[in-house]
């Protein structure tokens, strides 16, 4: 057992960082010993009103504060270095998604965490959503038989006009719909089916943004003719907030799930799990969700932090949910999509299907 309370620092105080901070600060087994952010405003306000110790420099914080773990919620391009520095100091790490975008670097961090026996987790919170866990449970039991196709989707209203001033609008910093939105359904896909053998027909298309993609579509190929399709847009105002869903087609039935419910259709030759019947079965979030000790914005956000804390307490660093290795698998798919989209479609003329978009001038 690790000595309690577990001493934690939260780094990066944007939307996710604040949310993680509120949740972990409310955890009975944790003491938040420092918070760190490069920009002063939010940091100073928090320091002034909550009494938490503040740092603008990550390395000074690591050097000065005795810690057991860090929660890293900085822009994606900073993850790799920060995770490395934390692991070097023997700290357990919870890092926001996507993990680190560079496959080699990601691999090195996976090794490093494993060698040092440190708990390592990435914030793919959908794996803590009851309905998505139910999908995994049913698939593991083979309830819908051999799977032939999976469709993963996410839509929401983030970029609805042509401007944007944060790092999320910059490709090099891990911005864009691919990294921000599509990473989630892809992570569910790799959870259910593993890493694909290949991808094709990838489209990374700006709708309103200048420098990054706002919609992502792709086909992913698995062994034995199994395929998956990805359909994602963060420029869809018809959704009130981000909505992620997965549909799995099998020879013995079909599963569709989102955060709220899991709908399962089972054919008459399916082996029925307990409580399920032939035809339609619906399980709601109220049936599938376990209570959490503190709720801010969805049980899954609290549950993943609680899981991280529990793993540290038990000093159980191997094979945890959302470990670096599983997040790296998602990173690799993201990289495959980027390469595939750059390659473009095969055409009879050999020319691209559409010319790259250019600014139009008066006579343009």
């Amino acid at each position: 057992m690790t000595t309690l309370p577990i001493r934690v620092a939260v780094v990066g105080l944007g939307k996710m960082g604040l949310s993680h901070l509120a949740i972990i600060n409310a955890h009975p087994d944790v003491r938040v010993c420092a918070i760190c952010d490069a920009s002063g405003y939010v940091l100073d306000v928090l320091g002034k009103y909550t009494g938490l110790k503040t740092y603008t420099n990550y390395q000074s914080m690591l050097a000065e504060v005795e810690l057991d773990a860090v929660v890293i919620a900085t822009p994606t391009s900073l993850h790799a270095t920060m995770v490395r520095q934390a692991l070097e100091r023997g700290l357990h790490v919870f890092c926001e998604k996507p993990f680190c975008l560079d496959g080699d670097e990601g691999e090195a961090l996976v090794q490093m965490a494993a060698q040092n026996g440190l708990v390592n987790q990435v914030g793919y919170h959908n794996r803590f959503v009851g309905a998505f866990q139910e999908v995994q449970r049913l698939l593991a039991q083979g309830v819908i038989g051999e799977v032939t196709h999976v469709k993963v989707e996410a839509y929401g209203p983030v970029v609805l006009k042509g401007k944007g001033g944060t790092w999320r609008a910059e490709h090099g910093k891990g911005g864009g719909c691919l990294y921000d939105y599509a990473a989630h359904p892809l992570n569910l896909l790799t959870w259910y089916l593993g890493t694909p053998q290949g991808v094709g027909g990838t489209i990374l298309n700006p709708v309103f943004s200048e420098h990054v993609d706002d919609e992502v579509y792709s086909t992913l190929y698995y062994p034995d003719g199994v395929s998956a399709q990805l359909s994602v847009s963060w420029s869809d105002e018809s959704f009130r907030k981000m909505s992620t869903s997965v549909t799995v087609l099998g020879k013995l039935g079909r599963i569709r799930a989102d955060r709220q419910e899991c709908q399962v259709f089972l054919r008459n030759n399916a082996v029925l799990p307990e409580g399920y019947t032939q035809g339609w079965n619906i399980r709601y979030t109220t049936d599938l969700t376990l209570p959490v000790w503190f709720y801010v914005r969805g049980e899954e956000y609290s549950a993943q932090i609680d899981y991280f804390v529990a793993k540290i307490k038990m000093q159980a660093a191997a094979d945890n949910v959302n470990d670096f290795a599983s997040a790296l698998a998602t990173d690799k798919v993201l990289a495959m999509l980027v390469a595939d989209a750059a390659k473009g479609a095969s055409t009879t003329s050999g020319a691209p299907v559409t010319a790259p978009k250019k600014k139009r001038f008066i006579f343009g």
Partner: protein
């Protein structure tokens, strides 16, 4: 406070059970007249309090009420602020400070400019918080707003961060500027109550999930029951049906036997659902069940005061 308050989730495509149902509802309530029809239906049955998010579309409801003062003289809003997704999406686009700036009044009042500018510079939250409250309250000008709530995502975020002063600032401003009682919505009643006490908010109105299956009741049903017995706050029950997981009669019968529940908020889209909920509450939450002082339980659904 009235015993039965009308909620607004059904109008804005919020359904904790089903995204399909949520979408069907947002289609049905696309025209504000459809919303007003349902509110009128509830009003005609004696449900005169609308506990609503400060969503842009509520401004149209407020306009309608203002335009018909004789019909709606006794009508009251319990605004719940802020509509969090508006801010969350803005933060993704503009960053934290950019998002705050976007929602601050952009013109006019020198006072606002001073409060806002000074506040951003000195990192004093009082100015900025009160400005944001004022900007959310603008749509209710001239209407009855005896209680003003802070939404659960903000309450619970502040609670987790340990940002206790914000509760005091909210309560003081709502009382002073609007003559209203501050209310707090939370999923963490047991954790919130001592913090509100510490922040000097006496006998606060606190709205939380209170349902038989303990859905989104952090700390557990037993702890909620213990706190209700202890009193010291004015409890408003929401999610009584746990998004439809508990049959209405069973849900209200259970609520009716709890002490010190001053009001229940519910959402409905049809006249029959409104009527049946009203009848169940009259039957199963009788006035005798009230042990809270001054809760207004003695009157069936409509009472005086906030």
């Amino acid at each position: 406070m009235d015993r039965l308050l009308f909620g607004d989730n059904q109008f804005f495509g919020i359904n904790h059970m089903s995204e399909e149902k949520a979408r069907a509802q947002s289609m049905r309530f696309q025209e504000i007249s459809a919303v007003i029809d349902v509110l009128d239906c509830a009003f005609d049955q004696g449900i005169r309090t609308f506990m609503c998010t400060t969503h842009d579309r509520i401004a149209q409801v407020a306009d309608h009420m203002r335009a018909n003062p004789s019909r709606y003289a006794s009508y009251q809003f319990y605004p719940c602020m802020p509509y969090a997704h508006k801010y969350a999406n803005a933060v993704t686009e503009d960053g934290m400070v950019g998002a705050i700036r976007r929602f601050l009044p952009s013109e006019g009042l020198l006072n606002a400019a001073l409060r806002g500018g000074k506040s951003l510079a000195t990192k004093d939250i009082e100015g900025i918080t009160t400005l944001l409250i004022d900007s959310e309250m603008k749509m209710f000008e001239g209407l009855n707003t005896p209680v003003v709530f802070l939404q659960n995502v903000v309450v619970d975020l502040l609670l987790g961060l340990g940002f206790k002063d914000a509760f005091r600032v909210f309560a003081q401003h709502v009382r002073k500027r609007y003559g209203a009682e501050p209310g707090f919505i939370t999923m963490n009643l047991p954790a919130l109550l001592p913090v509100l006490r510490e922040a000097g908010v006496e006998n606060p109105i606190v709205c939380s999930n209170i349902n038989k299956i303990g859905f989104r009741m952090c700390g557990g049903v037993d702890e909620y029951e213990r706190l209700l017995r202890g009193g010291g706050f004015r409890a408003v029950a929401m999610s009584v049906f746990a998004s439809g997981a508990i049959p209405a009669e069973e849900a209200i019968r259970w609520l009716g036997q709890l002490p010190n529940v001053e009001a229940m908020v519910f959402g409905a889209s049809s006249a029959s659902n409104i009527r049946s909920t009203r009848e169940l509450v009259e039957r199963l939450m009788p006035a005798a069940a009230s042990q809270g002082a001054g809760s207004g339980f003695q009157q069936p659904l409509v009472s005086v005061g906030g």
